[in-house]
Amino acid sequence: MIFYILRRILYAVPIALGVSVVCFSLVYIAPGDPLQTVMPPDATAETIEIVKHAYGFDKPIPVQYLIWLGRLATGDMGMSISTRRPVFLEVTDALANTSLLALFAVPIAFSLGYAIGVVAGCFPGRWIDRVVTGTAVIGVSLPNYWLGIVLVIVFAVEYMLLPATGMGPTGSTGFRILEWSSAKYLILPVITLAMIPIGILARTTRAAVAEVRNQDFVQTLRAKGLSEGAVIRHVLKNSLPQVMAVMGLQFGYLLGGSILVETVFTWPGSGFLLSKAIINRDVPVLQGTILTLSLVFVATNLVVDLLQSLVDPRIRRG
């Protein structure tokens, strides 16, 4: 097992390096000179040379990458062009706010999606299965930013029960989760965020459970007289690895893909930071946020992979 864990970690290293290469090249696929935004329009050729040298843009690109990677290792992701703060601080602050959303959305989405998926998978073809499969398709095809807007229209505009946007009343400092005045800002974003994973998870779980139930060993279990409850326990355990893989992907989505939902609710998380960076053409922040979120995603998938092999040793990958 130890060797297996080490091997998986070693395998994640080249992936992480690949991710860093892609993020590094984001600066170069941007149209125009990467320094365009910091340079005054009337800069002389001489000044441009000096600034280029100061930023290291006069070196060959592979060298620039290594320098960039070296700085990265010390947590230096450069400066934000719009706020002049270190990108690292911007990203960690935003990631904390996103994690707060995920902290609530993940348990809700995973438990609900899994539960209804199991119920549907146990009664394939029956009405409950049809209802669940239909709902799951809706969840999968729902533009979550639109759902957010609809929820705002219903709960904030029509009934004025919950706040529409933001993360606490204006002028408030810090987020106090135990106080209703703060906590009510969480409700709509969390529901919106949880909807798609619920659909996807219900779908996957249903398929996995239905598939395992058709295998021969289930027949054997029944034949030797196990109660239906005990049979289901076996089925669930065998369908778990497949479900876990999707849970890992969805966890990553909740952290990274929340960009649209956070934009709708102006929740100051990593997604909102990204969309601000796009509007301000703040490439360092764009690069830093994407890099951080992707590395978190790589790490999550690694953990899921290891958990999967703990649950079912057969699926260890070579």
């Binding site: 080249p14 992936i15 992480a16 690949g18 991710v19 290469v21 892609v22 993020c23 984001l26 600066v27 696929i29 941007a30 149209p31 398709v137 809706i138 999968v140 095809s141 729902l142 533009p143 930013y145 639109w146 759902l147 807007i149 609809v150 705002v152 229209i153 505009v157 029509e158 990553g252 989505y253 952290l255 990274g256 893909g257 960009i259 649209l260 934009t263 709708v264 990204l274 969309s275 960076a277 796009i278 509007i279 053409r281 490439v283 764009l286 994407i290 979120l293 992707s294 995603f297 790589v298 998938n301």
Partner: protein, 302 residues
């Protein structure tokens, strides 16, 4: 209504019995047969067709000019002076803009998937057929792109390149190539070692011939079904990009962009503001269910 159904049913079963039991249908005929007997898929295929036709014939159908602004007619509710779906923040007719908006949204839903199917499919077939180091090199490169959540990758690439329709489609293509490549690679690897490929080789068929006549036939099915499921994702992602300001530029009518600009007006005409999202939702559900139906009818496992 029930009477017609009652008459219809015996006729149907009669047709069934009339067909000789031993008749063997070709693959495509049986696919067509299964599709014809799948009312859910047919229903949503009709919606897809409707959306596509509306987009193609937009100038003929749209009741108003989608770009005609009106100072007095801003943000009017449903049915105001012949504007069935109301007007937007510049007084433009919503129904006409929704019809025209389908053009960009469908374009961005289909083109990236099409290009990604060709590029990703080819890479997958080449990798799967060649095996060994070439395959490892291709698939490990794809793994890197897998390490990004899809929305994030699309936003990153489109954001860095500065938005616009072309950049948006390029970003979406990049997002879809890796999964497409994986589907094609899996299908190719599965049949590469089968006897009939060996037999074809033994008769002297070259690599290109084997791939063209024996491999592609087995790979195109899964690739096609998977591509059809991606169209729904692509529509969602494309309108997401427009919503963030990375897709089309105003004043072009586009569902995502309309949703984003109307968001400021939810306190004035809430229902009108929610319409573009509803259209995105309906198209996405329809494409999704048609794809599910195709998968079942073509008996493809992904």
């Amino acid at each position: 209504m029930t009477d017609i159904a009652a008459i219809d049913r015996p006729l149907d079963t009669f047709d069934e019995q009339a067909a000789p039991a031993t008749r063997v249908r070709g693959y495509w005929r049986s696919v067509l047969y299964r599709l014809r007997h799948d009312p859910v898929t047919l229903f949503f295929a009709a919606i897809v067709l409707l959306v596509v036709l509306a987009a193609i014939f937009a100038p003929l159908i749209a009741p108003f000019d989608p770009y005609k602004e009106s100072v007095v007619g801003r943000l009017k509710p449903l049915g105001w002076r012949g504007h069935l779906f109301g007007t937007d923040e510049l007084g433009r007719d919503m129904l006409s803009r929704l019809i025209y908006g389908g053009r960009v949204s469908l374009l961005m839903g289909v083109v990236p998937v099409l290009i990604a199917s060709i590029v990703g499919g080819l890479l997958g077939v080449v990798g799967g057929f060649a095996g060994g180091r070439i395959n490892t090199a291709i698939m490990r490169t794809m793994d890197v792109f897998y390490a990004f959540p899809s929305v994030l990758l699309a936003v990153a690439v489109a954001g860095a390149m500065g938005g616009g329709i072309t950049n948006g489609m390029l970003a979406l293509t990049l997002v879809f190539i890796p999964p497409m490549c994986r589907v094609a690679e899996t299908a190719t690897t599965q049949i590469r070692m089968l006897d009939y490929i060996e037999a074809a080789r033994a008769t002297g068929a070259g690599t290109v011939t084997v791939i063209r006549y024996h491999v592609l036939g087995n790979v195109l099915g899964p690739v096609f079904v998977y591509a059809s499921s991606l169209v729904s994702v692509s529509i969602l992602l494309a309108s997401g990009l427009s919503f963030l300001g990375l897709g089309v530029r105003p004043p072009t009518a586009d569902w995502g962009l309309m949703l984003s600009t109307l968001r400021q007006s939810i306190y004035v005409v809430p229902i009108v503001c929610a319409l573009p999202g509803a259209v995105i939702f309906v198209s996405s559900v329809s494409f999704n269910l048609v794809s599910d139906g195709l998968r079942a009818a073509m008996d493809v496992r992904l």
